[in-house]
């Protein structure tokens, strides 16, 4: 496009959360009509960067950021997303921000409806204006035409295929007269291959109108296809910023995951001997919102630590949740050759499996109850432990002393910092809460332990402690562990094998010693695409 200066420039932006650096001196520029591909692993800082750009209150609440963000050379500091919208930055979210009971038109012009003033305006204000539906429809149609896609302006969102919902969101952003920059966060994640193609074409159309686009996607192929430039974020650093021309998917993948610290990683792959096959999973599907598992088969041997990695939203979290019966699932799961019914947490627990959920506060803990409850509860309910008979055996009531002893044991063993076993779980820090979750799982003495995102949201010291604990239980007690984590490094540190999940399937299983680009490639959606192409061919 023209030779004018950049409309958006991000200059030396840094941000830390409680001493944790998430963005470090990030710089890039964006010109009108340019499509910028922004890629990076989970936790690389993409989300934080976008939050800063949009003036999300959470940024100011956690101490603001360093550096400058300039629009047309003028520094801006938004205090709310509405300011960002007013300045012409539009965002299309990963989860739809649409009203299902409204039509396409109504959603596209939501809160910016065309109006004709009515006589009551002078009494009660502008909101008494009457909607000008024909004009609304016209504007919606114009936006749809700009996208170059087919959308029925009168269809209800709830009756639309997902792809159309995505288009509606984009159309909404571009109807803002001022929109000059459009941010799309994983817009193709929920789309089918053909829908994604249409979307990419639409993006090119928009770019031709002079709107700049920041395109965030884990499907590197799409980034290469559509973007003019690519910025790779890793550990808060913008490590690459270059035109896409001549860059291959493989290059980007290796920039994305390649770490300077990668060398010390490999501790797991020491060629250990394992026992018999303990868990066998075949054709598993799990209907977990946002983490759909489509078709997964794997087996775990006794004493092994199996890791599941992959990007967020690809289904790795769905695997343990489905096997433990927390979400509707199908397929077959066998423990020691015996089938375990799905959709029943009790059956899974009774079979000898335990689960440390990634949703610590939602599923993992009784926040309002004491620590001893949290730790002993599952063992009490599933195995009848920590109960004592009273009134000559007529009733069995809680054995408070036993629970206390158990809790104190784990408080010692896992170094949980708390005032007493009677402290409420919500009063502990994240790391200690995670240890409580682990203690709860250990208390049922499982043969197989599922651990999901064990280090999410806890500080570095606690991370190490948690990983060491898992490692120790595996080595000392022979507990078989299936660990799901977004952090490739920690998987590589303790797992014997690592499976990468992509689009609800296992894209491949690698030893922890494998080259980093190998992992990156499996995550980039290429494997799934290749598989599909192979099938279609």
């Amino acid at each position: 496009m023209g030779q004018q200066g950049p409309i958006l420039s991000v200059e030396h932006v840094s941000k830390e959360f409680y001493g944790n650096v998430v963005l470090n001196d990030v710089c890039f520029e964006l010109k009108a009509g340019e499509i910028l591909g922004l890629v990076g692993e989970n936790g690389a800082g993409k989300t934080t960067l976008m939050r800063i750009l949009f003036g999300m209150p959470v940024i100011a609440e956690t101490g603001g950021y360093k550096g400058r963000i300039c629009l047309d050379g003028q520094e801006v500091r938004f205090s709310s997303p509405f300011d960002a919208l007013d300045s012409g930055i539009g965002m299309v979210h990963q989860e739809f921000s649409l009203i299902p009971g409204f039509t396409t038109t109504e959603n596209i012009v939501l809160n910016r409806e065309s109006m004709r003033p009515s006589i009551l305006n002078d009494v009660f204000g502008d909101r008494m204006s009457v909607l000008d539906r024909p004009d609304m429809r016209k504007r919606a149609e114009a936006a749809i035409a700009k996208l170059g896609v087919k959308l029925d302006p009168d269809l209800l969102i709830s009756e639309m295929p997902v792809g159309h919902k995505q288009f509606t969101e984009i159309a909404r952003e571009i109807t803002r007269t001022k929109t000059r920059i459009l941010v799309l966060d994983e817009p193709t994640a929920v789309l089918t291959e053909s829908e994604a193609e249409v979307l990419l074409a639409a993006l090119r159309n928009i770019a031709k109108l002079g709107i700049a686009i920041i395109f965030i996607s884990h499907r590197l192929r799409e980034v290469v296809d559509v973007a003019d430039r690519v910025v790779v974020l890793r550990d808060g650093l913008a490590i690459k910023d270059l035109p896409v021309a001549g860059v291959s998917v493989r290059d980007i993948a290796s920039w994305m995951v390649g770490r300077t610290v990668a060398a010390d990683a490999v501790a797991g792959g020491e060629g250990r001997e394992f026992g018999d096959e303990l868990l066998k999973v075949e054709g598993l599907w799990v209907d977990m919102p946002g983490e759909t598992v489509r078709d997964v088969s794997f087996s775990v041997r006794k004493g092994e630590i199996l890791g599941f990695g992959g990007l967020a939203g690809q289904g790795k979290l769905g695997i343990p949740n489905g096997i433990m019966g927390l979400y509707p699932a199908g397929g077959s799961v066998g423990l020691r050759g015996k089938g375990v019914p799905l959709d029943s947490p009790r059956a899974a627990l009774e079979a000898g499996m335990a689960f440390v959920s990634e949703d610590r506060r939602g599923v993992g803990l009784l926040l309002d109850e004491s620590l001893d409850w949290n730790i002993a509860f599952t063992a009490m309910q599933v195995q009848g432990a920590y109960l004592r008979p009273i009134l000559g055996g007529l009733f069995k009531i809680r054995d408070e002393a036993g629970m206390r002893k158990l809790t104190e044991e784990y408080v010692g063993a896992l170094d949980i910092k708390c005032t007493s076993p009677k402290q409420k779980a919500k009063e502990l820090s994240g790391g200690n809460q995670q240890k409580i979750c682990l203690a709860k799982a250990f208390a049922v003495k499982p043969d197989l332990l599922f651990v999901s995102e064990p280090t999410r949201g806890i500080d570095v010291g606690a991370k190490k402690l948690v990983l060491d604990t898992l490692h120790r239980y595996n080595r000392e007690y022979g507990t078989t562990i299936v660990m799901v984590s977004s952090e490739l490094e920690e998987l590589r540190a303790i797992c014997d094998r690592i499976a990468i999940v992509d689009e609800g399937r296992i894209a491949g299983i690698l030893p922890p010693t494998a080259e980093l680009p190998e992992f990156g490639l499996l995550m980039s959606g290429l494997a799934a695409r290749n598989a599909r192409e192979a099938v279609n061919a």
């Binding site: 009203i99 809160n111 009660f124 204006s129 909607l131 089918t192 209907d287 609800g504 399937r505």
Partner: protein, 373 residues
């Protein structure tokens, strides 16, 4: 196949209306009342109650459920009427006078109610119900202890003999049926209170028009999805408060219309069952916690009140006790509210389940078929 399915859907969606229709039809013959009598009663009661029931529509539209807090509006209306009686202002002018005085009070009440309900998102209905009880206490404090003691009352006839507090029953002689009689149309033996119907028609037109305004659209958006509306910049809390204020003001007028038809007023009890009857009516008419339309209102008022007219007689004739009919109609009223709430919650859950099922099928279908091999 699909015809059968849609019939089933129709039946479940209109279960309450159909059930009610059946009960009513069954009860009419045993009451022994003439169709003419029932028709006249129906016309009278349509005029008397419809306005109150219409007051419920906007909060439902804004996703706040059934506005049990409308009782606050009814109390404001009664306050207006007490003042009109106090100043001996009669006729249609008296009604207008009462409505005008009731308006600011009901706006204030609506604001209070809306603010309280905003603090109790997700349990608006039970909170609204309890709030009505609470304000009832304050209403009594004002009417029973302050009027005549702190606020001067001109007309000693409406005071209790102890010198303060309003009498338990007020005679609305001056305004009795003045709206109904303003334009009474007599048609083949039926008396049609045309003026009242015109007022109701104007309100219906207002509701229809209101839904086309920006504010109406915002209310709809808030009702569908508060978070999305909020993120699109719609002032959610404010919109909800406005919905409740409008409802409360309408309830104030509705209560005045109701009471002018009744002709006297139980000062301390007249509002007790206002929300109960209105809510029962709109639910009988096929509305739900999330959806209500003007036809629901009319169908509901007609069905509920025909039943109310016939059950005492039917009880008398079938069981030899009028009390049975009396209890039966209250049972029906409460039962219908419980039933439609349950049906609605149950249906919503099933719909969510169906939606998820669809999602799953779509997401699994989205996978290449061959990959499973």
């Amino acid at each position: 196949m699909s015809g059968k399915k849609s019939l089933g859907r129709f039946l479940t969606e209109n279960a309450v209306v159909i059930l009610f229709l059946l009960i009513t039809i069954a009860a009419i013959p045993s009451s022994g009342l003439s169709i003419q009598y029932i028709l006249q009663e129906m016309i009278t009661r349509l005029g008397r109650n419809t306005f109150l029931v219409l007051a419920l529509i906007l909060p439902i539209y804004a996703g706040m459920g059934l506005n049990f807090g409308m009782t606050l509006g009814a109390m404001s209306g009664q306050l207006g009427l007490i003042l009109a009686i106090n100043f001996n202002v009669g006729g249609v002018e008296g009604l207008a006078f009462a409505a005008l005085l009731g308006t600011p009070v009901s706006v204030l009440m609506g604001y209070i109610c809306g603010s309280v309900l905003n603090k109790a998102k997700g349990r608006e209905m039970v909170t609204g119900y309890m709030l009505a009880f609470f304000i009832n206490g304050i209403y009594q404090l004002v009417i029973l202890y302050m009027m005549g003691a702190i606020f001067p009352i001109r007309s000693p006839a409406i005071l209790l003999s102890r010198g303060y507090g309003i009498r338990n029953t007020l005679n609305l002689e001056g305004v009795r049926q003045s709206l109904d009689n303003l334009l009474m149309l007599r048609l083949g033996g039926y008396a049609l209170p045309l003026a009242t119907f015109i007022v109701i028609a104007v309100l219906c037109a207002f509701v229809i028009w209101f839904k086309k305004t920006k504010l109406g659209q915002d209310m709809r958006a808030v009702g569908h999805d508060m978070t999305v509306a909020e993120s699109a910049g719609v002032p959610v809390d404010r919109t909800r408060i406005i919905a409740i204020i409008i409802s409360t003001v309408l309830a104030c007028y509705g209560q005045i219309i109701f009471l002018q038809n009744m002709g006297n007023m139980a000062t301390y009890n007249a509002h007790d069952q206002t929300s109960f009857f209105a809510v029962a009516a709109i639910l009988v008419g096929g509305a739900s916690v999330k959806k209500a339309s003007i036809p629901n209102v009319f169908i509901g008022v007609i069905l509920l009140h025909v039943l109310f007219v016939v059950t005492p007689r039917a009880g008398q004739n079938l069981f030899g006790s009028a009390m049975i009919g009396e209890y039966f109609r209250q049972f029906i009223g409460y039962g219908v509210i419980a039933l439609s709430l349950v049906l609605y919650a149950w249906r919503a859950r099933k719909d969510a389940l169906r939606a998820r099922e669809g999602l799953r099928r779509a997401s699994i279908a989205a996978a290449p078929e061959g990959a499973a091999k």
